[in-house]
């Protein structure tokens, strides 16, 4: 049998104009579909989840995949944003939805700046532990706080309550902005620095990448967008309580999405989020088994596909979507090394 041998001589970067145009067409199509009511409510419910999870997964990927900060406590900002929205839109304050969302994101940015003072002194596992504990501490705080209903939580009462259509458009906008920002960021000087940090943090530092400022920038951006996505998630859900806001399950989903899709790739979390949302929906038929299946898939992927779906595909087929590289280029020695 004749086997055609694929000699990898180049990496093709697939984000030249055709790819970008395809993405823009897809986004505009979805927008029009949402506005004109062409998409059914069921599909929209899926879309809202997919968009929000893409945003969160992408942010976690930026943190862990690029900046080497494996945070296990991003739910801190989700909970903060959720509670901010719930409080600010309550009859007592009566802020409109937009104001409340921005307020939540703003609070998260302030908290993230404060947290960075503590967290950035730590590295590796110390960092992961501290983020987890910080989120737990906030969870305890909201458990003890009478105004937010302690363990029972709060019902979100926005007046007028946004329709599913509006929520869908909002979450899509945030997702598109987040993706554009990550993509844009990775193609700038900062992005080159981040990519260098992803590959080898010590060498990156020694050639003059300012590790601290890069980390800070990424951490604050991640807090901002995670908070926005979290705020909308709770508007969609209608209520919040400490365990749902600051629960570790948020980290489970973000980690799953980034790992399955492939950490350190921009396109990975998109695939990961789509898989996660559909898997979650399917697993709802088997109550009790969902985490067992998610956990098993995560472990198997880590052991056998350490680069995730997109990472493995990119390595095997030599292309990159949404690459931070600006042009296709020839590989010099890669073929022989195998």
């Amino acid at each position: 049998m004749l086997k055609r041998k694929f000699t990898p001589s180049h990496v093709k970067v697939l984000d030249s104009p055709p790819m970008l145009i395809l993405c823009i067409v897809l986004a505009v199509g979805l927008y029009i579909g949402c506005f004109a009511g062409l998409i059914s409510n069921k599909a929209m419910r899926y879309l809202v989840q997919i968009f929000l999870y893409i945003t969160m997964g992408e942010m976690w990927n930026l943190l862990s995949g690029y900046a080497g900060m494996t945070s296990l406590g991003q739910q801190l900002y989700i909970g903060l944003a959720g509670y901010s929205v719930a409080m600010a839109t309550s009859p007592l304050f009566g802020l409109p939805l937009f104001g409340a969302l921005l307020l939540g994101a703003g609070i998260s940015v302030v908290v993230s700046l404060f947290m960075s003072l503590i967290l950035f002194r730590l590295e590796g596992m110390y960092f992961s532990i501290a983020t987890l504990v910080a989120a737990e501490a906030f969870c305890m705080l909201f458990f003890a706080w009478k105004f937010v209903g302690q363990g029972a939580g709060m019902t979100i009462r926005i007046n007028p309550y946004p329709t599913l259509q509006e929520i869908c458009i909002l979450s899509m906008t945030i997702c598109v902005v987040a993706l554009a920002l990550v993509y844009g960021l990775l193609r700038t000087r900062v992005g080159l620095g981040l990519t260098a940090m992803r590959d080898d943090i010590t060498s990156a530092a020694s050639v003059g990448v300012n590790i601290f400022s890069h980390k800070l920038l990424v951490y604050v951006i991640a807090a901002f967008f995670t908070a926005l996505a979290g705020g909308i998630f709770f508007v969609n859900k209608g209520m919040i309580y400490p365990d749902s806001g600051f629960g570790i399950s948020w980290t489970i989903s973000m980690v799953f999405i980034a790992i399955i899709g492939g950490t350190g790739t921009v396109s990975g979390p998109i695939i990961g989020a789509i898989i996660y949302v559909f898997l979650n929906e399917k697993l709802a038929d088997y109550p009790g088994w969902s985490n067992i299946i998610l956990g098993t898939i995560t472990i198997l992927v880590i052991l056998f596909l350490p680069n995730g779906i997109m990472g493995t595909l990119q390595k095997k087929l030599h292309f990159e979507i949404f690459s931070s590289k600006r042009f296709s280029f020839k590989l010099k020695k890669a073929a022989k090394e195998k």
């Binding site: 003072l117 504990v133 737990e136 305890m140 985490n291 956990g295 472990i299 880590i302």
Partner: protein, 280 residues
């Protein structure tokens, strides 16, 4: 008098909290792995003790004879087959594998034992006696004794036995230990086994002290983290001191603020002395 009462209560609980942290400090210090499944390991220990106690109708403490070797074996196999392979790919993949393990265990326990609260009842769980006007709960005293004995045994194992010396050598410098003929993979597996065995003891104590359910592992993971980081990773005396500090915080802060106080303490320790009180 109130002050001394609080001090005694905190001190007695300190051993109990140190015991929860001790398995984690071993894994962090020796294997250099953040084991996010430690809370679930402890809960497995609690369920095992509950099952053995009720099946054989023996005193809960005697159940350790069965649960400790069994948990050691589980830990050994887990590390040898699964976690060790993930560690080759770097610290983050290993961390995420333990994360996957923790959610699998949580749901598996939920399927087997349902979400109902369980506890291990003992004849002395509500008895107290008074010394010099200070009330001492018999249960707390028993827990303290179990903890101190386990910690002493562990210290002896690490300092006296051949395997213990190999473990300490590996913790200091894995490469140098390997060059001197230590089988690193096996040492890591033994360390994980010992950590699991200590989780079995901690689980028994948790079962006697309070109720537990399949999802309560997360809270004990946080407790273990706080104790370990305050004490300094890998340091057993540090863990004991941190356990006592943690116990005092719990007694002073009560149910609503105890946990919060300890988290704030942890963040302070991280800022002032990131390597912990007795860390290297």
């Amino acid at each position: 008098m109130y002050f001394i009462q609080t001090l005694v209560n905190g001190l007695l609980l300190g051993g109990y909290y140190a015991l929860i942290g001790i398995g984690m400090t071993m894994i962090l210090g020796i294997v250099k792995l953040t084991n996010l499944a430690h809370g679930e390991f402890v809960i497995i220990g609690a369920y095992m003790a509950a099952v053995v106690t009720s099946a054989l109708g023996i005193d809960p403490i005697l159940s350790l004879v069965i649960t400790v070797p069994l948990m050691f074996l589980i830990g050994f196999v887990l590390q040898y087959v699964l976690i060790g392979n993930a560690m080759k790919k770097g610290p983050e993949p290993a961390l995420l594998v333990t994360f996957g393990l923790s959610i699998i265990i949580m749901d598996a326990l939920r399927l087997i034992f349902t979400v109902n609260e369980q506890s291990i009842s003992t004849p002395y769980s509500t008895k107290t006696f008074t010394v010099l006007g200070i009330n001492i709960s018999v249960l707390n005293l028993v827990l303290f004794a179990i903890s101190i004995v386990s910690i002493l045994l562990l210290t002896m194992f690490l300092s006296r036995s051949y395997v213990g010396r190999a473990i300490r050598a590996t913790a200091d410098d894995a490469e140098a230990a390997a060059l001197s003929g230590v089988n690193i993979k096996k040492v890591y597996a033994i360390a994980m086994g010992v950590s699991m065995a200590s989780a079995a003891v901690a689980g028994l104590c948790i079962g006697m002290k309070s109720t537990f359910n399949p999802t309560s592992g997360g809270a004990y993971l946080s407790t273990a983290f706080v104790v370990v980081v305050i004490g300094g990773m890998g340091s057993i005396p540090g863990t004991l001191i941190a356990g006592i500090v943690f116990g005092l915080a719990q007694v002073i802060g009560g149910a609503s603020y105890g946990q919060l106080i300890s988290y704030v303490m942890l963040l302070l320790v991280l800022v002032i002395r990131p390597r912990g009180i007795l860390g290297k």
